[in-house]
Symmetry: C2
Amino acid sequence: MTAAQDPQAALRAAHDAYEEFAQRGLDLDITRGKPAPEQLDLSAELLTAVTGDDVHSPSGVDARNYGGAEGLRELRELFAPLLGVPADQLLAQGNSSLTLMRDALTFALLFGTPAGGAPWVEGRRAMLCPVPGYDRHFGLAEALGFELISIPMDDEGPDLEAVRQAVADPAVKAMWTVPLYSNPTGVSMSERRARDLLALETAAPDFTILWDNAYGLHHLREPHAQPLDALGLAAEAGRPDRVWEFASTSKITFAGSGVAFFASSPANVDWFLEHTAAGSIGPDKLNQLRHLRFFGDPEAVRAHMERQAALIEPKFAAVERALADGLSEGSAASWTRPHGGYFITLRVAPGTADRVVKLASEAGVKLTPAGATHPYGLDPEDAYIRIAPTMPSLDDVRAAAEGLVACVRLAELEAAAAS
Amino acid sequence: MTAAQDPQAALRAAHDAYEEFAQRGLDLDITRGKPAPEQLDLSAELLTAVTGDDVHSPSGVDARNYGGAEGLRELRELFAPLLGVPADQLLAQGNSSLTLMRDALTFALLFGTPAGGAPWVEGRRAMLCPVPGYDRHFGLAEALGFELISIPMDDEGPDLEAVRQAVADPAVKAMWTVPLYSNPTGVSMSERRARDLLALETAAPDFTILWDNAYGLHHLREPHAQPLDALGLAAEAGRPDRVWEFASTSKITFAGSGVAFFASSPANVDWFLEHTAAGSIGPDKLNQLRHLRFFGDPEAVRAHMERQAALIEPKFAAVERALADGLSEGSAASWTRPHGGYFITLRVAPGTADRVVKLASEAGVKLTPAGATHPYGLDPEDAYIRIAPTMPSLDDVRAAAEGLVACVRLAELEAAAAS
């Protein structure tokens, strides 16, 4: 009998392979979607794009002083075509789009939204969470007192029927979505799905989609995902206030020191600005001016993202190759081959994801905790693992993926032996 | 009869003086406490203090990437002695202390505070507002649903007896204060007053003082105000959680691109960090690293503030001279001669402040609206005018102050004639 035919021999072989991996004494971390130092180096010249000799924006604003709540006009004009929104409806703000999401949700909680309805804090409130999804989205909503409702993803985006049923409850106030290269599935929403979601009849008049366009420019391979005109589609559907769109340069220039953007209907932009201005005398315009000068025009941003892709894509390819080499035969595991974004989703045999993460950790490879892709950190199937290949070196990513394969095989055979 | 004896002649003379001023065709703005370009130039080298060649903090943190919610350790250590707080209890955050005040108040509204009690949003809530005070403080509290209660200022700070009476109401949750060189009075709180405020028995267990140390390093003249160890005094009084302290480098380096600080008890710092981290993957550490390198040590900050004072003090002196020359005799007006901070408070004949601001505006000098120094923009005496001399050039400040004198005299004589 070969190992493939003899379950005991197969388990022993898997165990040996795992031990061999563990003995390499690795110390790797593929938990978070952080850019690698080489990616950050691409923006080195941004750091000195503003010197004491010229601190004014093209229209003459002294970028050092207070003011300008909307952000520098010229930077909004530069990013508007990239994000597919009108510059008048685009705000350039601080260093974190997650903070803008927090702010917008907080404003809705305390003041309600222009779409009508009471302040959200006054009643039960629920957030639709496409799964697998982004743990920080879910954690923020939970921290703000939202019930989290899982919505399955299909290959066009969040499952329309599941959303339709959920929004019959007037407590369902909002929904997360990452329209392009979703975190972590890599799925990009189809225009059809976007139209349907934006037109949907909802019990809450102020139902809002948090449209986190985090990866709108983050292509890895052809064919690129098609951008979606969320604001235009919402307006066409007669629901202009349904979308809050977010984006940032965190994964374009510097992860901690980028510029974050908010785009929405004119009414929502006024609402956001009014509440922001009560607690701010303007964003960091010097950093905005650095970004403006470093890029100059939208084409330079696209070219920059091609340089990013040239650094990242080989890491994705290395992971995919390791998974294909190790798991194509005799394993229930499957995985995504994304055309953009920051993640690969690995689906292992149900009931084994947590064990895989534990095995990997013990062998020196940190993975995002199993369940992180689901509301409350609970994946009912215990099957999804998010792989973030960008931060470590190519060699390290390859080693981590090969080790991960050994963990997946061992956990799967352990589970089979125990059943 | 001389003009001084003949009211009609005096009014005519005042009117002529005002017309003469109006005909100069000035276009000046002394409304806001903005640094002048020369002040911002003092920090020019900060802009290039971090280049692509060295992006790491002294302890090896890559300042470009995500993470580090507390802010760069070394910058916290540099500012801790300047602010008189332990570095462990000091957070370095984004570009605006006003935003940190908004965040802390929002966290209290939604989650309550470590001092106990329900989320503040659940009931009536009131904020004590020392008057004359800072319009953005009052506006933020009003926007967040607080009732605003005026507390008179005396020459040691907010009137203790008025505060004592107000905090007997459990809805009184918080109080603004600018301990050093208060906006706009320039009054610095005595240590005795600080002790008393921090020890006060209050009906609300979670009564909190927002200690806006905006001008703690902003001395203009000897003797300098004595710094107050608010956190230490609160702990001594057995009420360690009573104080949220805020500060920033907005008026040290760049008004729009400084670093803001939050300091409080260990419990409050944990609470602030926990809620901040739900909506942020860390502050802009590159800007923090720039500040760290530009200054290097606390003494350099003090020396920098002496250079600031050398630019600002002559503007204060020019205003004071113009007021003394024009209003020392025959006018009810009085004004402050602050030893630090950003403002002069001019107290005109009751009932005339609004008229003075209007006259000045018509003659080309913009002043902060009368009433801005009081809750809801309503000064019951219509007597207080805030003068912000920093932003215009010395010549312009002098011209504006001379014109202001003409407005004060005319308004006063008009009022006398009408009564």
